[in-house]
């Protein structure tokens, strides 16, 4: 089995064939490596914060430096890694394959969206070189209109990246509607596709609002238009409304694709049909919809009326229902399945624990009375990281391990991958669980120094953050190390015995045009009760 078939990684050759490629798989890989580079940078900044916070005083850096570091950490992780990483990388590589299509609907737009992302990233890098920005990733006015740091290049970068996000979402929606092979009806789509669909809907409807908000902020600084400036008759709280009208739905841009990954990993590695397919599919859409109605829960302390507080709090609880439906469906999928503890499955199981904690603490924060106590404390920091890192990034790592053999044609070392997955789980809990306690005890977020009473928990958090950082680093190194030549897999390999089109109808790595001939759908994505697809794993 050494026949040398054409695949998208090796054909066509040459640097220009990559830079000008219209192939969704290559664009996806460029997104992946771009995203991972910023993940590394954002991770280093996080380690810088934990270093400073290991002891109470200003031990390693000034308050100003610390302000810069946490702002850049937040902005880079959110706008340059989490938002583009799953749709841009995994979504791009997998979506057309899962639909049986030759490419996304608009391949040129897809390449343009990658370069727009790159341009936005250059603005952010410029911000760092020019001395950083110290407003926090939320850029609240009036501080962001008066701060002397580099607010304009940073917000300009976010404005530009917004267009890349809109174009990707638009492309995916058109692809899902129009590029499916005959017979692949909506209810036969893999759930990852439903997740990308929900994500894309939010991307095209919410992102334009952040774009215009960033323009308003830039013009406020440049021209003093007065929209957010009380001295000129404007209202700084309006900025918060604009910002969260995007940024709350953006939380679902970040988590919905992660849900999609988990919905793929769990049935495949449990060898059992997914439980509640339609429930999971429609819970995705309802989360996307409800997500637009809850932005005010970020603003309980902004002076909004008691009536608004009650309404926003009430609607916020509704998000818990479809989310709970998903969690229970995944658990029921595993029930009486043949669960194998492969590296992707270990990440999926971590996700179930960590995301559940993140979700439940979100219910705490949705309650007005409790939120007023916990607002701007480490409780919020911990909740946010349980959802975004424990949820999205853990699912992303799981997805990366699940589809790595498909997209790269090599298999990584399972023992190292499993140890790293375990390290991520332990290190993550060790880092962020103490932060719930810190928050309950009143430790405010965004401070470089603190009272000695918080020292033990901070110190503990910093220690475990090293384990967390190293585990993620080695997990990714393990993947990259697998790329050496001797490690090539047989092109027909289907190591997990998965049933979706990208595994059953094309090679690993796939053909440049995805499929040698248009695939014919033989079974649904999770028909483990009807058809037997054996895992095959050959070098």
């Amino acid at each position: 089995m050494t026949e040398n078939k054409k695949n998208y990684l090796t054909y066509p050759k040459g640097i220009m064939s990559w830079l000008l490629t219209l192939d969704h798989k290559r664009i996806g890989l460029m997104y992946l490596f771009g995203g991972l580079a910023f993940f590394f940078l954002g991770g280093l900044l996080a380690m810088g914060m934990r270093l400073e916070l290991a002891a109470p005083g200003n031990d390693f850096m000034s308050n100003d430096t610390y302000n810069n570091i946490y702002t850049l950490h937040g902005a880079i992780m959110i706008f340059l890694f989490i938002i583009p990483a799953i749709p841009g990388a995994l979504g791009n590589i997998l979506l057309p394959l899962m639909l049986g299509a030759k490419d996304v609907a608009f391949p040129r737009l897809n390449l343009a969206s990658f370069y727009i992302y790159t341009l936005g990233a250059l603005f952010v890098l410029y911000t760092i070189i020019a001395g950083g920005v110290d407003t926090g990733w939320t850029f609240y006015t009036p501080y962001s209109t008066t701060s002397t740091s580099n607010v304009i290049p940073m917000t300009m970068g976010i404005f530009v990246i917004g267009f890349s996000s809109i174009l990707t979402g638009l492309n995916f929606i058109a692809t899902i509607h129009k590029m499916r092979i005959p017979g692949l009806t909506w209810y036969k789509l893999p759930l990852f596709v439903w997740a990308l669909y929900g994500t894309s809907l939010v991307q095209i409807t919410a992102t334009p609002v952040i774009a215009i908000t960033m323009v308003l902020l830039i013009l406020e600084r440049l021209l003093g238009i007065g929209i957010f400036d009380p001295a000129l008759g404007g209202d700084p709280v309006l900025y918060q409304h604009f910002f969260w009208f995007y940024s709350h739905p953006a939380v679902y841009i970040m988590i919905l694709p992660a849900f999609g990954i988990i919905s793929e990993i769990i049935p495949v590695h449990s060898r059992k049909k997914i439980w509640g397919y339609k429930f999971i599919a429609f819970s995705t859409l309802s989360i996307a919809f409800i997500g637009f109605l809850v932005w005010g829960h970020h603003m309980f302390t902004s002076g909004q009326s008691v009536f608004s507080q009650i309404v926003f709090s009430f609607i916020t609880y509704f998000v818990g229902i479809p989310t709970g439906v998903k969690i229970f469906s995944w658990i029921l999928t595993m029930y009486k399945g043949q669960v194998s503890f492969t590296p992707p499955m270990l990440y999926a199981l971590s996700f179930l624990f960590l995301f559940t904690i993140g979700g439940l603490t979100g219910i705490f924060l949705g309650a007005v009375a409790l939120d007023i106590h916990l607002h701007d404390t480490y409780f919020v920091v911990a909740h946010f990281h349980y959802v975004m890192q424990g949820g999205t990034i853990v699912a992303f790592l799981g997805g990366l391990h699940h589809w790595w053999p498909k997209s790269m044609g090599t298999m990584y070392n399972h023992t190292i991958a499993s140890i790293c997955a375990f390290g991520v789980f332990i290190g993550f809990n060790g880092t962020f669980f103490p932060q719930f306690l810190l928050g309950l005890r009143g430790m405010p977020r965004r401070y470089a120094t603190y009272d000695p009473q918080y020292a033990d928990l901070h110190n503990y958090s910093s220690f475990w953050s090293v384990i967390l950082g190293l585990s993620i680093f080695f997990a990714i190194m393990n993947l990259l190390w697998s790329l050496r030549k001797s490690n090539k897999l047989d092109p027909g390999t289907n190591p997990w015995g998965a049933m979706t089109l990208e595994w059953t109808h094309t090679t690993s790595p796939p053909h440049p045009h995805n499929f040698e001939e248009e695939p014919v759908l033989e079974h649904g994505p999770y028909d483990y009760d009807k058809v037997i697809v054996k895992p095959t794993f050959k070098k």
């Binding site: 030759k102 334009p208 215009i212 003093g224 238009i225 007065g226 929209i227 000129l232 008759g233």
Partner: protein
């Protein structure tokens, strides 16, 4: 995976047939229109918020706008929408020259719109009816009201963003003129013209909202 020899040259490699390509383009365009509506939506919200806070100021400041020029621009833009639609109709009927003439007319109307807008803007710059800090006009219409600069901040933002869309539309229509003249667009394949047409009607539609909201509230 290439198409057989009978498939037309304008069919891109990843589509199965012309119909799928056309449907996909149209679907994508409507999704894009949705994002445009939301982009302007943010500014419409800002308009509503500040108008409800300062109702008298809006009415007084609105007196400073030139209704005649606004009305003229409305007529110009609606006519350009008509000529755009006629250009598509003509190319469907295989009348290349009429289609070209209509596109050129649309381009000229777009240029007229921006020209009239330029006259309006330059007058406002002269008398200091400008956004935010740069506002300096102290005429009798606004003698007793606070914060007239907020009106002009929103006016310049919304009409400016709209003007930017007109300018982009001109570029696109210019390209259509070139492609039609070269024969790249014809009765079999005129998808780009139809898509840019949808965009142009949106630009028109937004102006139809902006005109009464700024010029006719007095």
């Amino acid at each position: 995976m290439s198409h057989d020899n009978s498939s037309p040259s304008f069919l891109q490699h990843h589509f199965n047939d012309v119909e799928q390509q056309y449907d996909t383009a149209k679907f994508g365009m409507w999704a894009f229109i949705l994002t445009e509506v939301l982009t302007f939506g943010g500014l419409f919200v800002a308009y509503v918020v500040y108008r409800s806070w300062y109702p008298e100021m809006f009415i007084n400041a609105n007196l400073l706008l030139d209704v005649n020029k606004g009305l003229l621009n409305t007529v110009v833009l609606i006519t350009s929408s008509l000529t755009m639609a006629l250009a598509i109709w003509a190319i469907q009927k295989k009348n290349k020259n009429l289609s070209l003439a209509m596109l050129i007319l649309t381009f000229i109307f777009a240029f007229m719109f921006l020209g009239i807008k330029y006259l309006e803007y330059s007058h406002k710059f002269e008398v200091g009816q400008l956004p935010g800090e740069y506002y300096s006009y102290m005429g009798p219409e606004v003698a007793h009201i606070n914060n007239p600069h907020i009106f002009f901040s929103i006016y310049f933002l919304m009409t400016g963003l709209h003007g930017l869309h007109v300018a982009i539309g001109m570029g696109l229509i210019g390209w259509l003129i070139y492609a039609t003249a070269k024969g790249n667009l014809h009765s079999e394949y005129y998808t780009p013209m139809e898509m840019i047409g949808i965009f142009w009607h949106l630009v028109d539609l937004i102006w139809i909202y902006l005109f009464p909201l700024f010029y006719l509230i007095g």
